[in-house]
Amino acid sequence: MHKKNKSLSRHKKAEGTLSYFVLVLGACMVILPVLWMVITAVKNDMEIYQMNGRILPVEVSFISFVRIWRDYDFALYFRNSLLVTAAAVLVSLIASALTGYGATRFEFKGKSAFLSFILMTQMFPSIMLLVPFYKILSIYGLSNSLVGLCVVYISFTIPFCSWMMVGYYRTIPVEIDESAAIDGASSLQTFIRITLPLVRPGLVSSAIYAFITCWNEYMFAAILIMNDKMKTAAVAIAEMNGYYRIAWNDMMAASLVASVPLIIAFIFMQKSFISGLTAGAVK
């Protein structure tokens, strides 16, 4: 008994070391390119364009970070991105949670057709959807508006969020809400009071996914939004890679700044992500 425990703990130790080894390797893979982003962002214009020049900057210059606020209106672009993203995430979460509940708690005609329909909407190359999307939006007077963009984003995020929620709801035993039904709760009450807290990990994962998708989307934002005042951050960054000029250091600085909200949001949400995961429904 004693011996067995010892070998088990040694085994655990080896597993721990291996885990850390993998994690460090993975982290390097991520950090090195990002580090190059940071280094580029703090180099001045001359140093960027030296053939086989120094890897580290001779002098650290924050001119690029100054320029993105002074020469470009990034404060505004961030606001736009945030508005569109927040609204799209909210709507996607509500709609997809409802679908997850509906599709796992009831048997009804056309259910499997509906679920494959959701998936099928993802299979058409989005490039060919540009023109018709614009057409629809202009019919409803939503072209060139943040609301229109938000609506488009919802259609991007809903399918995956719905499927994720369906997956999560499947892992939650139906007995839980059956017992609620015995207590006299309606479907909607059961949905809100009993099951929503249980699917929190699913909701958080869906939210993270939807947030990232919307925050980073480029092509539709570039074509559907024409007013400078409504530009999103991703478009503004892409436009720094102009047809006639390319400002690597400014672009890297802007990219870094644009990623900060996401990283902060993730760190912030990670807490509920983790607690949601560990307090998960299935015990």
């Binding site: 214009d45 053939m51 023109v131 614009y134 202009s138 072209s143 024409m226 007013n227 436009e239 000029r245």
Partner: protein, 423 residues
């Protein structure tokens, strides 16, 4: 419900009618202009012109819609398909025949003033005209010529770059002088590279696609002179090694960067490169020279240029085309064109502004000189695809294809394409 709606509608219509009568003298006008300069260095200059115009005409509001050049055609098409066009949009010459075909172009001949038109050279007007339609009001031109480092040329002991042989010679010498490379080749396939190679090939007598007497389309892309041009172009990189590494992925902005950082000393480009180079490296002022594209030493060799006249197309959706034309002429007028041209290298279209001393320096001399060799822009409806065909050819050769393979692909694609249009 319906009746209520109708009532509301008719009241508002009446109201707008009255306000229309009242404001007739100084009607409030908004002009929306889709610009792809708004995402570039030129944004402020262009906005300043609009500001100045609005100050003179308080009833006019000008709104720019900014779009990246790469997305421009897609954006215009998207909006046209939804009947949601702006009042004017920036015209890329590669988009001309498509736009005309789509019926979204208002003939600028109807709105251009005689005075302004009289100040334009015949070449410029021809360039902007397609099927008797003036496609846009010319604003500036960026003719294609060869820009070189005048100080290096002197150092190399070359008198003038007149032929392709001189050009190659210079490229080799410059490679030694710079310690890096000689020639900024744009080898990417993004439209810009093709436009440059097109001029290079034409200097060998190649005519990419033309219509013979009975209206059939024909092409030189299968001819020997095209092969010669193609081989000589890629040899600059593959044999002579005078081109910075990665030619096949070098876009215009990279090529300018090499030149501005003194890592090369030659670039085939529109005159706007002069502005871009000097913007990035002001120390090069006075060291730049330009000459028309050198002629090939083959039998059919010639000087040639593509004027690349640019400007805004008034769309069929524009409700105030006269006012729009007035603003566009304002931008192309003497004062604005001279200051815009000297800051950006996008030189004026009017003869009077071109004569200004701002454009007589050595960096511009080749551009003024080359205008006489201008060829009109191709009228072939699928010219963009023709460009892509020879773009694929040089690009694939730069990354290792043999001449025979590249030409075989060209042959197959061009034959199929012409077949479609010769039916």
């Amino acid at each position: 419900m319906k009746r209520k709606l109708a009532a509301v509608l008719s009241v508002s219509m009446l109201a707008s009618l009255f306000s229309g009568v009242a404001a007739n003298a100084e009607e409030e006008i908004t002009l929306t202009i889709m610009s792809c300069l708004q995402t570039e260095d030129e944004a402020e200059l262009e906005s300043a012109m609009a500001e100045a115009y609005m100050a003179e005409h308080p009833n006019v509001t000008i709104e720019f819609i900014s779009v990246a050049n790469n997305d421009l055609d897609a954006q215009v098409t998207t909006m046209a398909a939804s009947n949601d066009l702006p009042d004017a949009f920036f015209m890329n010459c590669a988009f001309m025949s498509t736009a005309l075909d789509m019926g979204i172009v208002a003939d600028a001949n109807d709105y251009i003033s005689d005075e302004f038109k009289a100040d334009l050279s015949e070449e410029v007007i021809n360039y902007c005209t397609l099927n008797d339609t003036l496609m846009f009001i010319p604003w500036f031109q960026i003719p294609v010529a060869l820009i070189y480092r005048a100080d290096w040329l002197e150092q190399a002991g070359i008198e003038k770059i007149e032929t392709m042989d001189d050009f190659r010679e210079a490229a080799k010498s410059f490679t030694e002088i710079s310690g890096n490379y000689g020639f900024s080749m744009v080898g990417a396939r993004n439209g810009s590279g093709e436009a440059r190679f097109s001029v290079y090939a034409k200097a060998f007598g190649v005519d990419e696609v033309w219509q013979n007497e009975d209206g059939t389309w024909e092409s030189d892309l299968t001819s020997d002179k095209f092969k010669t041009a193609l081989q000589s172009f890629v040899d600059l990189d593959l044999v002579d090694g005078v081109v910075p590494a990665g030619a096949s992925e070098t876009a215009y902005q990279d090529a300018v960067t090499y030149f501005a950082n003194e890592q090369t000393g030659l670039i085939i480009s529109g005159s706007n490169a002069v502005g871009a180079i000097l913007n990035r490296n002001p120390e090069l002022a006075g060291k730049l020279g330009s000459v028309p594209i050198p002629a090939a030493t083959t039998e059919e060799g010639r000087h040639v240029t593509n004027l690349q006249v640019s400007g805004y197309t008034i769309t069929t959706a524009c409700e105030h085309p006269e006012e729009m034309a007035d603003f566009l002429e304002f931008m192309a007028g003497y004062d604005n064109a001279v200051s815009f041209g000297s800051a950006t290298g996008r030189i004026p279209v009017t003869n009077s502004a071109l004569a200004d001393e701002a454009f007589t320096g050595s960096e511009y001399i080749g551009f003024s000189e080359c205008m006489q060799y201008s060829l009109p822009y191709s009228t072939f409806p699928a010219y963009a695809e023709v460009q892509d065909i020879f773009g694929e050819a040089y690009n694939s050769m730069l990354t290792g294809s043999s001449l025979d393979d590249a030409v075989a692909t060209v042959d197959g694609r061009i034959t199929e394409l012409l077949g479609e249009y010769n039916q």
